[in-house]
Symmetry: C2
Subunit: 372 residues, 2 copies
């Protein structure tokens, strides 16, 4: 299903596209995160106006609240939240292992206590496929995986990788060979920072055959350099004719480096989380709008930006809104940040297509400082 349009000669960056039941996706692409059936502070109209063609949501969170039966009754997640483009849902593996307590991994699946009310739950990999594909109606489902934090012992990483493989096999079987509706299932490569474990995991997932492959368990506490090395090495373990999705990554620089390593899809809470902290992303770096230096700065957050916020408002106004705790401030900065990320991906695709990606990457990184 993944069609390579162009591969960069000097790097491993590539432009591709694929189709889901809710439309075409051009890669490299960024998915705004809509954990609880909303990209925080933004309406679906806002997200579309930013140019986003797909979003990520989360099976674990929706399973707990409002419940997947309710969403099924609503006609699926697309109808429930009013989003008619592609939705990828994370399986909840990451959330179960990072948010919940009393987690017990058994062969059959995982038992955990809700991070909200402590209630006990059990989910098998088969349950998680059914929840995503059949109840939420996700265009792209992710297999249930076990994600370990960094640092992890080799034994711990190996056992998590092995159970992830076992669950992947069962997920694939549950998902079935044919999907008449064109829905997709992605496998997830685990293995922590042990590249031989990742190699084994990747190889066996590829043998099973998934529509796409995710690189999971990165950006879970390890140093920046190790994030980058793990992504670069793992990307090369994956087939060229399948889409590669780096989960939960990252800064604009992380993403550009991962694109150069041959990765295609990204999701991250950074644009919305920073938005709610009042920090705007710009090509020159992050703009902490609470800062007193923006008090009388009547320029838009980012000159030349075509987003609603930059076309209508100034840094001084946003700073005021944030300082007096007005929700509109969080929303306007989140909107700009999602626009920034989505349009960064469009610029990356364009640079690859015009054979100029290496220069684009170099110039972007040189330009992009830390906090302004």
């Amino acid at each position: 299903m993944f069609k390579l349009v162009r591969t960069d000669k000097k790097t491993r960056a590539r432009v591709g596209r694929f189709t889901t039941p809710h439309g075409k996706v051009n890669t490299p692409c960024f998915m705004p995160v809509g954990t609880q059936a909303t990209v925080k502070t933004l309406s679906v109209e806002d997200i579309k106006n930013c140019g986003a063609g797909m979003i990520l949501s989360n099976a674990y969170h929706l399973y707990l609240r409002p419940g997947v039966e309710l969403i099924k009754k609503a006609g699926g997640l697309h109808k429930f939240m009013g989003w008619d483009k592609t939705i990828l849902t994370d399986s909840g593996g990451f959330q179960i292992f990072s948010l919940t307590s009393l987690v017990k991994v058994r062969d059959e699946g995982v038992e955990f206590s809700s991070h909200i009310d402590g209630s006990k739950h059990f989910l098998s990999p088969e349950d998680v496929v059914r929840i995503q594909r059949d109840m939420l109606g996700s265009d792209i489902s992710m297999v249930l995986d076990e994600c370990v934090k960094y640092p992890s012992t080799r034994d711990r990483a190996e056992s998590a990788m092995k159970i992830t493989l076992d669950w992947a096999k069962r997920s694939k079987k549950e998902f079935g060979a044919k999907n008449p509706e064109g829905k997709l299932l992605f496998g997830i490569v685990q293995g922590s920072s042990f590249l031989d474990l990742r190699e084994e995991c990747a190889k066996r997932l590829v043998d099973m055959g998934f529509a796409g492959y995710a690189i999971g368990g990165v950006s879970v506490g390890e140093p920046d350099e190790l994030i980058r090395e793990t992504i670069e090495a793992t990307a090369q373990m994956l087939p060229k004719n399948k889409v590669r999705y780096v989960m939960g990554v990252g800064t604009p620089i992380d993403i550009i480096n991962a694109v150069a390593a041959g990765c295609d899809m990204f999701d991250c809470v950074m644009p919305t989380r920073n938005g709610r902290n009042g920090t705007a992303f710009t090509k020159e770096g992050k703009l902490p709008l609470r800062n007193a230096r923006y008090k009388e700065d009547f320029r838009p957050p980012e000159g030349g930006c075509e987003c609603y916020t930059c076309k209508n408002h100034t840094r001084a106004y946003l700073r005021h809104l944030i300082n007096v705790n007005e929700i509109l401030g969080l929303r306007l900065v989140s909107l700009h940040n999602i626009h920034f990320y989505v349009n960064l991906m469009a610029a990356i695709r364009e640079a690859i297509l015009v054979k100029d990606f290496e220069r684009f990457k170099r110039e972007f990184i040189n330009h992009y400082g830390g906090e302004l």
Copy 2:
């Protein structure tokens, strides 16, 4: 400046219009409240999409944060917040007497401590005119007034009314007889629930001659029936050829009754405050969307409503958003509520124009229950 278009034969309801430097205003009308240079949770585009032609903001709050010098540097409040239609600013009298501590009323003006940081401030009525007209650039400025809570002794109400009159006279002088830009200054009738005090206040304000007259000091703790009686009686003390503005009122029923008594302009935090509590206004009454009964209710908040929220979302989705503390929920309900209030006023104007207001009023009140 106020032109009466039609007066209802059976009630005192009337349709009128007037012009400010930022456009025409059709009355009866409702002003969404944008205390801190934003109508809470909504963008200026949202407010326009609701059909609002004017908003209210607040000199006291803006004077403290971000400061009126900053707003003047930004080119005035319209430019600062990106709103290009009419703005009325309250003088801050109500806020100074209700929010601040250590208030000292002197002949020259009022001394108070900021409700934010306790810092001491002094404002004269002349300062307050300059702040609104010259620094914020308000289309309609309100005179500084002293507002007493209910219940109040007659002496207390009388002394507040007298100082309000004195300040009104000085405000009028500061504002000047001519306003080449077409900006307007409104007087405020005080007097608590003592109708003879209100009569004296109204008469003397009318002698001074203002572009419009506000009924202040209602809905400050008194029973519903007294609110209604005070508004009805005070409206009759005011000239027919001037606009009458009831400050801080009220429920849809309060507004319809005040229109029937001959009032023209309203502002109230109810639509946005209820929105942030997850309660939607409908013609049948208030819809507390947190309520479990809406869990699987896949209808829009209000059938037939043309607002963005009702055209795109269900009660079940809004309930979910509110229950998981997602900001989008507060925003979508606020948006519907502002649309409801603004369109209620449009329906009222239409009913008066087609000589059907009395029936409209009766049917609206019969239909509108309490909480659904």
